[in-house]
Symmetry: C2
Subunit: 480 residues, 2 copies
Amino acid sequence: MVFKLNNHLLSMIASGNGHGEDSPYFEGWKAYDSNPHHPMENPNGIIQMGLAENQLCFDLIQDWLKNNPKASICTHEGVNEFREIAIFQDYHGLPEFRNAVAKFMAKVRGNKVTFDPDRVVMNGGATGAHETVAFCLADPGEAFLVPTPYYPGFDRDLRWRTGVKLIPVVSESSNNFKVTREALENAYEMAKLDNIKVKGLLINNPSNPLGTILDRETLRSIVRFINEKNIHLVCDEIYAATVFSQPEFISIAEIVQEDIECNLNLVHIVYSLSKDMGFPGLRVGIIYSYNDAVVSCARKMSSFGLVSSQTQYMIASMLSDDEFVGKFIRESKTRLAARHGVFTDGLAQVSIKCLKTSNAGLFLWMDLSGLLKEKTFEAEMALWRVIIHEVKLNVSPGCSFHCTEPGWFRVCFANMDDQTMQVALSRIRTFVNKDVDTKKPKRTLRWQGSLKLSSPRIYDDFINSPRSPLPQSPLVLARN
Amino acid sequence: MVFKLNNHLLSMIASGNGHGEDSPYFEGWKAYDSNPHHPMENPNGIIQMGLAENQLCFDLIQDWLKNNPKASICTHEGVNEFREIAIFQDYHGLPEFRNAVAKFMAKVRGNKVTFDPDRVVMNGGATGAHETVAFCLADPGEAFLVPTPYYPGFDRDLRWRTGVKLIPVVSESSNNFKVTREALENAYEMAKLDNIKVKGLLINNPSNPLGTILDRETLRSIVRFINEKNIHLVCDEIYAATVFSQPEFISIAEIVQEDIECNLNLVHIVYSLSKDMGFPGLRVGIIYSYNDAVVSCARKMSSFGLVSSQTQYMIASMLSDDEFVGKFIRESKTRLAARHGVFTDGLAQVSIKCLKTSNAGLFLWMDLSGLLKEKTFEAEMALWRVIIHEVKLNVSPGCSFHCTEPGWFRVCFANMDDQTMQVALSRIRTFVNKDVDTKKPKRTLRWQGSLKLSSPRIYDDFINSPRSPLPQSPLVLARN
Ligand SMILES: Cc1ncc(COP(=O)(O)O)c(C=O)c1O
Ligand SMILES: Cc1ncc(COP(=O)(O)O)c(C=O)c1O
């Protein structure tokens, strides 16, 4: 007897592609996976610059672990705690964990604000935290505004299983991609015309992919906007500790404690240790809400994505070591600043500009619009393919972040060692110099050649959709 | 300026009570929390017998950890792996983890079946796994059949955020709560009359709360049923390794590899290390589906509830140690059998019967119907309150499992040491003897007294709803 797979057997969610993985960006991952760079074994392989990972300070972490064997329930020194921790399953989390996280969140924000451990709700990474917040705040069909360019994971996390919509708020290079009141109003009015109920505004500060932070005036204007409209404000601050130079990071927590009119029930922070500590594998996500009902509901929902108690225990010990945390945060900023400096200087030598207001994050927002054949996203994708297949760097094209101006690329710089970064830099320099030397017609031809390699359908899929699927590899989904 | 909390600000899910925590069973947790038993410090406190935890073999685990320091990324011996593991975030999981889990699942099933590591999808406990399966298989409003009595967490896990319905399939004490074809057909037809589309059948084998396993004939009849109806079969086998005496456990994996007509695309197993290993805090849940599309979709959804890579690494090492695993499974069964024996014998001395077909699980299904004032759930709740407040044992009333016959109680026996179990037994004996000595009117009066303590609304809420909220403490939700 032969059975056919009947699609009605599965849910609409399972039959659809809201997960966003049927995206053209797969090409970059596939290319990297089949030919990854290795300094000795594969020096001509592709360098992975599409991962917003923070790998610069693991020596500090590993030293700390060696000196603190009691931090683990799997060491001689800590194993007597194993039983109690392995059976611990309270969705409030270990009290030590919540306290340590609350303290860490304050420290990362220069101790200008405090966080109440009782409002700290854990979840499976910021990924799980975002979905949970969306489930708490909006019904299917309702929407959040999101300034562009934005982290493509939002399309999956806030929308896929919740049925919630995202509406882009356009920002532009002419003012360094600032979020303006005008753009917010525009997006809000557009939604109204479409009969879509806007439930909130999602901001990401510091921004992935821009590497910029929001200034105080912008933050205040955002708070005024959401209060006037009576909609929620979700602030993803998972890059808070990566602000490596002046001006300093200003958390939304600082703004709402200012003398500003604000309904605190509307304000929610999403946080995680994936970027600031560099632990994406440990899946430590945090929702910090000023709204009691959201704290309570999110905590119940956290049952679907609790942090492993083994990990809670280790993190609690690590983050409650004040001296270590202070040193780690300082050193991490220093190393990020150095890396950022070397990289931008290297690019400047061949006249490549990056968004100059960037002073945070694990990436640069690189302007290659001057190298585009024409000012279109097709040309951006063509250039992207050249960068992957010829320059052999897996960077991310701006369109994957819903950027509305072609020619921008996000380049991650903290997921590799110094040597690899130098290789990457020299490849870029060689490419640009060669490209400048080459006459226009030739360059055009070469790019058109690359273009032909892929089916035009891929472009259509992508370019036609302002809220297109996210650029993630089916192989390594959550890394971005 | 004063702001009022506007309920429309939140989602319908957040405003509703689908989380199931507004339940009368909270009383038991509250009583336990405010007066927990301790052999020295509070010998007259309440003994917690409402937690299906497996605490009998932690000595073996702790010994293993001491002998295997490389299993942890937080030991001197293992710390060099820390960086690689902390940044590992592939939703396929560590290959070693998937392999070890697949091997373990086979071993637990007597190696009569094998599992393909590529079909092993991780998730945040069986809790997350169930929700994910529901999201994959059914649209809002569609339903799963579930034989009663059943684990109350299903009401939250499968329904709350998915909008999926559960329809009880009634089983009865007269045939030891067996799942019959007739009852399945009845429930299916009832759903049809209500215009509800049945998408699947959820079984829990071994059963919480019954402690029974399904025999081969019942399993075959279930497979025939779901194939005839072309609906899914989700088998929660998280108590697989707790089968401590003959007959042996038969996994659905064994049935579908028999010479039986079965569309494998319909069959999905949910598993977890919370019960068999006793690690609920580590949140290791597994979906094993024979349906490729479900594997692929569930894996994408697992982004919301990945297992901490630190925990994956440790579990991979532990479960790939064949000798240890063999010894652990054997020893665990031996200790569960002994505990079960002592407990049932102790109850038999005062003529309390338990479901006699039980040979699995971490609990007994105790028949106190003879002690009910009348054969109603009000009387069951009254007796339950006496057991909590006077006998000082926090057990779980049958109605919390949607049992359709009053008088049954689930009593967990593996979450305490021998001494505490003896205290619990002697309390039960004292109570029953006293109760037998006391004349009827007096007993009735006392119980009515207890009844008055709580508002009748609580009963109404609960008794009127066949799919009532789950009995979980807001304090310690996930423990059950
Ligand atoms: C802005 C932003 N939010 C959320 C996430 C997801 O983080 P997590 O690993 O904590 O799920 C990322 C990861 O790249 C991100 O850049
Ligand atoms: C039958 C059943 N399924 C699922 C669960 C949830 O298990 P986990 O801790 O893996 O989420 C439980 C917990 O009691 C259970 O008894």
